[in-house]
Symmetry: C2
Subunit: 119 residues, 2 copies
């Protein structure tokens, strides 16, 4: 079946959540958002492109930092309201310069830092 970005379920702001997972290590790197046009651009260019809610503009991941995400596989969930992109991640995915945005764990009621920023 041909895939149509318009067949996805977007929220009231026209956005869908996207989970980025490292295709090699399977580490979950980050979660961000796409609109229908960002979905189309990601599939067309193979460069993962989000919609920045703070800047209200397209966000080609790594465009300024060089920490690009090359699309390896693009997946849709059962409800068509969430996406999973498997990516080839150059450098850290997180703006704090850590590999993953999920570097804080909650263990026994306390926050624990799991990884340090890359030097």
């Amino acid at each position: 079946m041909h895939f149509d970005p318009a067949s996805l379920i977007f929220n009231q702001a026209g956005l869908i959540p996207v989970i980025a997972q490292d295709a090699a290590s399977h580490e979950v790197l980050m979660m961000a958002w796409m609109n229908a046009e960002a979905v189309a651009r990601t599939l067309e260019t193979g460069r993962v492109t989000y919609w920045s809610r703070s800047r209200q503009s397209f966000w080609v991941k790594g465009e300024s930092s060089g920490h690009v995400q090359k699309l390896v596989d693009f997946r849709v969930d059962c409800d068509r309201d969430c996406l999973l992109v498997l990516v080839d991640q150059t450098g850290p995915a997180c703006h704090t310069n850590r590999r993953s945005c999920f570097y804080t764990a909650v263990r026994d009621g306390d926050e624990v830092e799991l990884m340090k920023p890359v030097e």
Copy 2:
């Protein structure tokens, strides 16, 4: 630092997106939502508990299906507006009886089914 669920950033509906990942295989299983009370209950009971937007009620994953998620690790992202739970998943995570909700890939413009429901 002590973790306080109220320190998370919830959306206008009082919810935060939660990614569930298989702690052993690292497969991304599903994405759902929690409110602050669901976060607290998950940490307290070790049973992953979401907030069902359709039913507007707490949803102890697997309560009716038996496909429970035992919490293995609980992680918070850099912006504190997304959670990642590593889980010990009993049976399929998806309501379609597939291991993961992300069973559809988009390849060369077409949708491809990656896994079948468990018999």
